[in-house]
């Protein structure tokens, strides 16, 4: 065994490289910290500061806030926002719960199709649903004309309707996950004790999805209160906080009042986020590892009823999308249904440049966002230092920052005289950065979760073998996490395609984006062109989703040999800390 003993103790002069390794680790953390500081903390601090100044830069204290609360026209936006958000939340979560229940707890046919159809709204910018509702129920809507009933779509009613449509898939996904994780043993026990079906539903099913329901409520509430597109299109004179910011900044050039409304808007969104985090922390213990999955039951009457319900919802979704598609290819909706492609010529508002810009920005957002969130999550999770706790909290912040507020913050930070980063303003780069920051938290948490599932000893084994961490990161961590990495990049791409709120303040001549074009075309009365642009956005989204689906299948097949390992409990609980 000469070869085994040779080299023992010798040739271990590796001090230089390992010191360099530590330096690389610290440098990466510093870059990540600097990114969060420059593109999140500093701009948000600007918003807070500007809300205390007047438009000439004089310090006013809280005078802006007093003026906001005392001006009835502006102050109404607070109650309007809350009312609309609460109504939309209750309706969306109620509708989505029954839908998700049908998908997970029955064996009705077509569950896969129902699920796909309900996902469609994710591929369109929020305001598209509002445009479609106007086409259907507006003063000249097709339903209004056919039935003669005008439901008065402009205002709170229309906002709530369109928001329910837009938020439905988000709530459904959460509830499907919650309802899917049921423990059959509880149902067996309840049935053995002679409980009625209603009693089982009230004592087993509902408590089991309690946290899922709460989470869905918070997500929908935050989506609605921070949404700008829908109230802009269908709100009419009904002002909400997000549109109020837009009106103050774009309409009246009153930046300080925009900042003031922004800070107030941060409160409910931030509160919803904090409560949601507290609730989610308690969710994990609910279904234990020993749980037996629930087999859906066979109640025929219930199943038929639920099938009818799902069909109705799916028909509504398909109907709305048909309105969008049809209105874009007919001469003059709803008067002249001759087919034409003239709306796809886009004679104003950037035309096809906007679409190409959008695809390009979405691609860059996917690449940059995935890189920053995954590497950031890795540094925070695996290379614990004193700084990582602060970085973790900062990484969670963006989800509670409404897009409008982030956009305004970027104006303050990157369009100020004398700012070194002014060169960013008016470029595609600032759009990419704002998208990365706006959608930062969810991918960051996804990456953290998938990193937490990996054996904590990987890094220690590498260290003992003298292998630097970045090599193990590249050879082991990234390949194992590839499915989540791909999922993260898809999340960034799809959101970047449809987002409106942050970028609406940041587009400039030459950097128009498709979603903003939809808004501007609709504003200019070119509704048909707006829906045509929407159709193209939806098309790109669906196409990219398909590409990702094929990509993920390829990855799954290629890694099938070793992914069995993750299903095994590789890291058993240690016998001592």
């Amino acid at each position: 065994m000469a070869i085994l003993r040779a080299g023992a103790g010798a040739g271990r002069a590796v001090r230089g490289r390992l010191d360099a390794e530590r330096a690389v680790g610290h440098a990466c953390l510093a870059v990540f910290g600097a990114f969060l500081y420059v593109f999140l903390v500093w701009p948000m601090a600007q918003v807070l500061w500007r809300s205390l100044l007047d438009n000439d830069g004089r310090f006013l204290g809280l005078a802006n806030y007093l003026r906001y609360f005392r001006t009835p026209a502006i102050a109404a936006s607070i109650t309007n926002s809350l009312t609309v958000s609460l109504f939309a939340m209750v309706l969306t979560v109620g509708l989505a719960f029954v839908y998700a229940y049908a998908l997970t707890r029955t064996r009705m046919p077509g569950r896969g199709v129902f699920r796909l159809v309900a996902m469609l709204p994710i591929f369109a910018p929020s305001l598209v649903s509002a445009i479609a509702f106007v086409y259907a129920f507006g003063n000249n809507g097709i339903v209004t004309r056919q039935t003669g009933i005008n439901i008065g779509i402009y205002g709170a009613k229309g906002i709530v309707l369109a928001e329910v449509f837009y938020c439905f898939p988000h709530a459904m996904l959460i509830l499907v996950a919650a309802l899917g994780a049921a423990d059959a043993r509880l149902y067996d026990a309840a049935a053995a004790l002679g409980a009625s079906r209603l009693k089982i539903f009230l004592t087993v099913t509902l408590p089991g999805v309690k946290y899922g329901l709460m989470s869905a409520c918070f997500v929908v509430f935050t989506l609605v209160i921070t949404d700008f597109g829908i109230p802009k299109v269908v709100g009419g004179k009904f002002s909400v906080m997000a549109t109020e910011i837009y009106n103050q900044v774009i309409g009246q050039q009153n930046f300080t009042m925009g900042a003031t409304v922004s800070v107030v808007l941060l409160v409910p969104a931030g509160l919803a986020f904090v409560v949601d985090r507290l609730v989610q922390r308690r969710q994990y213990a609910l279904v234990s590892a020993a749980a037996r999955p629930l087999e859906p039951g066979r109640g025929r009457a219930t199943q038929a009823l639920l099938f009818g319900y799902c069909s109705l919802i799916a028909a509504c979704v398909v109907g709305i999308f048909l309105v969008i598609l049809t209105s874009s290819v007919v001469n003059r909706w709803p008067y002249d249904f001759t087919l034409t492609l003239k709306h796809y010529r886009f004679d104003t508002a950037g035309g096809y440049t906007a679409l190409f810009n959008s695809v390009w920005v979405a691609t860059l957002t996917a690449v940059a966002g995935t890189l920053v969130t995954f590497v950031g999550a890795y540094l925070v999770e695996k290379r614990r230092t004193r700084a990582t706790g602060v970085l973790y909290v900062l990484a969670l912040l963006p989800v509670s920052v409404p897009g409008m507020v982030l956009g305004l913050a970027y104006i303050f930070a990157f369009n100020a005289p004398g700012s070194a980063l002014n060169t960013l303003y008016g470029t595609l780069a600032i759009l990419v950065v704002s998208n990365v920051v706006h959608y930062f938290t969810v991918p960051f948490l996804t990456a953290t979760t998938s990193l937490k599932q990996m054996d904590a000893e990987f890094e220690k084994v590498s260290a003992s073998l003298g292998v630097p961490f970045y090599r193990t990161f590249w050879r082991v961590t990234v390949p194992i996490a590839l499915p989540s990495v791909v999922g993260i990049s898809m999340y960034f791409f799809l959101n970047a395609m449809v987002t409106l709120s942050a970028v609406v303040f940041l587009v400039a001549p030459g950097t128009e984006l498709a979603a903003v074009s939809v808004l501007l075309l609709d504003d200019a009365g070119e509704s048909a062109q707006a829906t045509a642009m929407s159709v193209l956005i939806i098309g790109v989204g669906l196409l990219v989703r398909l590409v990702y689906w094929i990509l993920l299948r390829g990855i799954t097949r290629r890694t099938q040999a070793w992914t069995v390992a993750t299903a095994q409990p590789t890291a058993r609980p240690r016998s001592q800390p």
Partner: protein
């Protein structure tokens, strides 16, 4: 054997606290070159913390870690020159068996051919040459653990650290792997430190055992020492099975009173006359029936239970009448046949002085 070389590992006054909890209190010990040492103790005794300090995965609050005379206290893990195997295996699931074993070799800018040769050699050594191109998930638990061992040994470390390497395996695989690891360690002559909470594992594998409790080393010795001469009541309780009888020290040194009886025991330093003593005797050392007749320290006992355990039978006994101390006695099948045992029977029992250990018990409240 006089050895002029410095010990493979020397720990001097290691102290470690996690917040207000002290994990290690001034632990000092040495591990000789080529020795197989086990850190044994219940969970929370500090054995894993001690191993992680040697590995450089945890930094001690005070004390020095030396390896072959060199102070490595401040060196990062990669520069200390050891291989480690964790309880979870921590094999990289996306790399084949061969790539896992080669993981620590490829950074050393070794020629590709040399790396391949080394991988072959190690896989041959652990008997997994056939599984070169498989992924960890395609191997059994025992095979995975052997890959982890090969990976740790690949860069020719001078020290092998094993952190509860067998506790994730089922009983039969564990027994086989015990032998294998021990044989491999002998062949390579590599200094090895293993952490375990399984006393049987420690007794069968180690050259020397370090028994730990509450961050303190209770006893260091060969398996025979630890089993035969436990230095403290804790060691007596933790290693093997031991009958423990509460007694009182007699005026004569080397004698103790148990109920109406006065028994002679192994000499114990520090026993005060009238002070509490705990007498200890292993079940297989209790003589019973004819074997007890002529022996010293004879008592009568009543059989309270008879438990058939396969190779031997364990008798539950009660001495000194109703409410007296209980005692267990292991009898081989042959000895049992000569004895008429049934529950309720009265039999003579002897606790021979050579086997009767005595531990000074701290008086309550002291």
């Amino acid at each position: 054997m006089a050895d002029a070389r410095p010990p493979a590992v020397a720990l001097e006054g290691i102290v470690k606290a996690f917040g207000s909890v002290t994990a290690l209190r001034e632990v000092s010990l040495t591990v000789r070159d080529g020795e197989f040492v086990c850190f044994l103790g219940p969970s929370g005794c500090g054995k894993t913390t001690l191993l992680r300090i040697i590995a450089g995965l945890e930094r001690q609050d005070a004390g020095v870690v030396r390896m072959a005379g060199r102070d490595v206290s401040r060196l990062p893990p990669g520069q200390r020159g050891y291989g480690i195997v964790f309880q979870s295996y921590a094999l990289f699931p996306n790399l084949t068996v061969a790539r896992n074993v080669a993981y620590g070799l490829q950074t050393r800018r070794a020629a590709r051919r040399d790396v391949e040769a080394r991988v072959d050699e190690l896989l041959g050594l652990v008997g997994l040459a056939r599984h070169r191109q498989r992924y960890p998930a395609q191997l059994s638990g025992g095979e995975q653990q052997r890959v982890a061992l090969a990976r740790a040994l690949a860069p020719s470390p001078s020290l092998l650290l094993l952190d509860e390497p067998l506790s994730a395996l089922d009983a039969r695989v564990r027994l086989a792997l015990r032998q294998e690891i021990k044989a491999l360690q002998r062949r390579l002559g590599i200094t090895t430190i293993m952490v375990t909470h399984d006393q049987e594992e420690a007794l069968t594998m180690a050259d020397r055992i370090v028994v730990m409790d509450h961050g303190v080393v209770e006893q260091v010795g060969t398996p025979a020492d630890i089993y035969g001469e436990p230095a403290s009541l804790f060691v007596a309780r933790f290693v093997g099975h031991m009958n423990l009888l509460e007694a009182v020290a007699d005026a004569r040194p080397g004698w103790a009173r148990l109920g109406p009886h006065t028994l002679r025991h192994r000499p114990t330093p520090g026993a005060r006359p009238g002070g509490p003593l705990t007498l200890g005797i292993r079940p297989e050392e209790v003589r019973i029936g004819a074997a007890a007749r002529a022996a010293e320290n004879r008592l009568t006992a009543r059989v309270t239970s008879v438990q058939f355990q396969g190779a031997f039978t364990r008798l539950g006994l009660r001495t000194c009448g109703e409410g007296g101390p209980a005692l267990e006695c292991d009898l081989a099948a042959t000895a049992l046949a000569d004895l008429e045992v049934r529950e309720g029977a009265e039999l003579p029992v002897a606790l021979v002085p050579g086997a009767l250990r005595a531990f000074v018990t701290a008086p309550a409240g002291g």
